[in-house]
């Protein structure tokens, strides 16, 4: 079965410290992976994606994510957290059933609430 797991409901980190939000996946074939952020009372904003190529992907607001095929993970990272990074983070993977060209749906994780403390 194709799935995405975000093992932590909540992550707490002090401002200025590095942060990691974890994501693991299970799909057939090569994964297309995405990270989104949702600030309170806002829609989802795209952060970054991995399609192919370099395993380290850089995105918006200083975030990056590392694709690890052997561990089937795509953890989101930032070297120095800001209080304004406090939000809900979602990992998603493209549903590849039916082939890469036939299905546009995303499979979503349950989300991780990040709290950055001053």
């Amino acid at each position: 079965a194709q799935s995405v797991a975000q093992p932590e409901d909540q992550v707490n980190v002090a401002e200025g410290n590095p942060l990691t939000v974890k994501c693991t996946y299970s799909v057939s074939g090569n994964p297309y992976l995405f990270w989104y952020v949702q600030y309170p009372n806002r829609g989802l904003q795209f952060l970054l994606k991995y399609i192919t190529g370099d395993n380290l992907v850089k995105g918006s607001y200083g975030f990056e994510a590392e694709f690890n095929k052997s561990q089937t993970s795509f953890h989101l990272k930032k070297p120095s957290a800001l209080v304004s990074d406090s939000a809900l983070y979602f990992c998603a993977v493209r549903d590849m059933r039916g082939g890469a060209g036939n299905n546009r749906k995303l499979i979503w994780g349950l989300g991780t609430s990040l709290a950055v403390n001053p």
Partner: protein, 116 residues
């Protein structure tokens, strides 16, 4: 990217009534989607809105309850019919501009619906 607007941004409705939510994109897009999200929870895909044909609904969602229109490549509507308090949720419109498997989905700001 695409700029997406939704109307209304929020509404409070009575049980048994219907509400139509509009989604407008600033450019032509291939794919449009409708999601439902409880505050602080994950997203649930309701349907994919197909231009010029019927929407494709996910398991647990039916056309009679959630009729969808997509008259062109920049606009779609979702109607929540015969509402009950269980329909209280945030409804999100999303688009994939080119529709390719690697394409990014972009989201509107959402419509917060409360059913009394």
């Amino acid at each position: 990217s695409a700029v997406i607007s939704q109307k209304p941004s929020r509404d409070i409705c009575q049980r048994g009534t219907s509400l139509t939510i509009q989604c407008q994109v600033d450019s032509q897009v291939t794919m449009m989607f409708w999601y439902r999200q409880q505050p602080g929870q994950s997203l649930t895909l309701i349907a994919t809105a197909n231009q010029g044909s019927e929407a494709t609904y996910e398991s647990g969602f039916v056309i009679d309850k959630f009729p969808i229109s997509r008259p062109n490549l920049t606009f779609s509507t979702l109607t929540v019919s015969n509402m009950s308090p269980e329909d209280s949720s945030i409804y999100l419109c999303s688009v994939a501009p080119s529709g390719g498997a690697a394409d990014t989905q972009y989201f509107g700001p959402g419509t917060r619906l409360t059913v009394l």
